[in-house]
């Protein structure tokens, strides 16, 4: 699978998790793509941690407003019924449990629901930005990540080795190979890519894996 296809499968599958009326924060990168796949009839409210609710689609070319960007600094729009606020209020919303779902990427995620997403000591230290608050504060934390690193190493681990973003907060992990829930110490395979066997998935997963009795195939078609 090429990277773009993986990202498409993951974003599409995560979109199914959203319910009408949910307040959702989408991380930069892959999570941002989730917005494209939201099923018709489901209206969600996107929260942008730099200070607003009601994040809308990209502006038409030439209509960009430097005062209206998402948390990645990209020009966006605001929908009618949106609201702007300062960073203190934005994180009161986030930390206070007023975001229903936060969707973000991972360097590593483990069988205890721990997430590592913000630094590789000595190599890459971008900083945690709003991720620690989002993962601790949101009612539901969904991690969307490629199943392995570029070198084919597992990213779904027994225990994270990199510095953590938060402890025991991840609720669901979606990769191009499957959908996994967390039961402390184990990941439960809920859905799998139809072209892969459970054993093939297990071979690239370090976390202890159980298969749900209701295991079903992921929808992977665009």
């Amino acid at each position: 699978m090429n990277d773009e296809l993986k990202r498409m499968i993951i974003a599409r599958r995560i979109a199914e998790e959203l319910s009408d009326g949910d307040v959702v924060n989408l991380g930069i990168g892959l999570p941002t793509m989730v917005a494209r796949y939201i099923p018709p009839g489901i209206n969600i409210i996107l929260q942008s941690e730099n200070g607003f609710l009601g994040l809308g689609p990209d502006p038409a070319p030439g209509e960009e407003d430097p005062d209206l960007v998402n948390a990645g600094g990209k020009p966006v729009t605001v929908l009618p019924g949106g609201a702007f606020f300062d960073s203190a209020d934005s994180f009161a919303i986030i930390r206070g449990g007023h975001v229903d779902v936060t969707i973000l990427g991972a360097l590593e995620v483990d069988s205890w629901g721990n997430l590592a997403s913000w630094m590789v000591p000595g190599k890459m230290v971008p900083g945690m930005g709003g991720a620690m608050d989002l993962v601790v504060g949101a009612k539901r934390v969904i991690v969307g990540t490629s199943h392995t690193t570029k070198n084919g190493e597992p990213k779904l681990l027994k225990e994270c080795r990199l510095p953590l973003t938060a402890v025991c907060e991840v609720d669901l992990v979606v990769t191009e190979l499957g959908v996994f829930s967390i039961k402390p110490g184990t990941m439960i395979l809920l859905e799998k890519h139809p072209n892969y066997t459970v054993d093939e998935i297990r071979a690239v997963t370090e976390a202890p894996l159980k298969v749900s009795p209701q295991l079903k195939d992921m929808v992977v078609q665009a």
Binding site: S48, E49, N50, G51, F52, D65, P66, D67, L68, V69, A71, G73, V78, F84, F85, D86, S87, A88, S90, F91, I94, R95, G122, M124, V125, P126, G127, M128, G129, G130, A131, M132, D133, V136, G137, P163, L164, T165, A166, V167, C168
Partner: protein
């Protein structure tokens, strides 16, 4: 009543060695004119408190590249590789703080609070060296107040009393930093007469503002 100064006059009040809060989230809502002038003037040894360090060649990035900053308290440096290089080379001390914790610490500084208890960072390296307090079975970190000598903020409009309104997502850290520094310099796009801003729509009351300076308009 704030003084209305030119950008160079305003920036003259920032001394070498000052602790400076800088508003903005990446480029959005950052006091670009003040930052450019400050980098140009060659100020040294600043402690900067800001959400991020922008990108190379813009905003706070100008201060980083101009070697003006010794200490940095921030939530994210990933957009400016120069910041990371200087940190790894030992030229820049960086304290990384979760964004929600950073803004609360600044709010505490402005609101006369000593600190807050936050669940964010518990069980991570952010917790190292910090007091942990457990209330009703939940563990919190005690995060302490931050204040600065100077805050450089950006607003959309000011009236002559210094009452400020912001535009869209350019609000971010600006109103919170306006409360937490001894000297507050606001770069604004327009200065209007007293009475032209409805008291119900003021976001930052003028009592917080010491200096107003005119920047460029971003919405034109």
């Amino acid at each position: 009543m704030p003084k209305v100064l030119s950008v160079p006059e305003a920036v003259r009040q920032v001394m070498d060695g000052s602790t400076v809060m800088i508003g903005g989230f990446l480029s959005c809502g950052a006091p670009h004119e003040l930052l450019a002038e400050l980098a140009h003037r060659g100020v040294r040894n600043l402690t900067v408190i800001a959400n991020d360090t922008g990108v190379q060649g813009d905003g706070i990035g100008l201060l980083i590249s101009a070697d003006a900053v010794t200490n940095l308290i921030t939530s994210h440096i990933g957009t400016n590789p120069e910041t990371g290089r200087r940190m790894i080379a030992g030229q820049l001390n960086v304290e990384l703080v979760p964004q929600g914790t950073l803004v609360e610490r600044i709010r505490c500084g402005g609101a006369g609070l000593g600190g807050v208890l936050t669940p964010t960072g518990v069980g991570t390296i952010v917790a190292e060296g910090k007091e942990e307090i457990t209330l009703n079975g939940r563990t919190y970190l005690l995060e302490t107040a931050l204040r600065a000598d100077v805050a450089l903020i950006k607003a959309w409009k000011a009236d002559r009393r210094g009452n400020l309104v912001y535009r869209k997502s350019a609000r971010n850290f600006n109103p919170i930093m306006a409360m937490a520094a001894d000297l507050v310099i606001a770069e604004v796009e327009e200065i209007v007469e007293v009475g032209e801003i409805d008291p119900d729509q003021v976001v930052t009351p003028g009592i917080f503002i010491d200096v107003l300076t005119r920047g460029v308009k971003t919405d034109e």
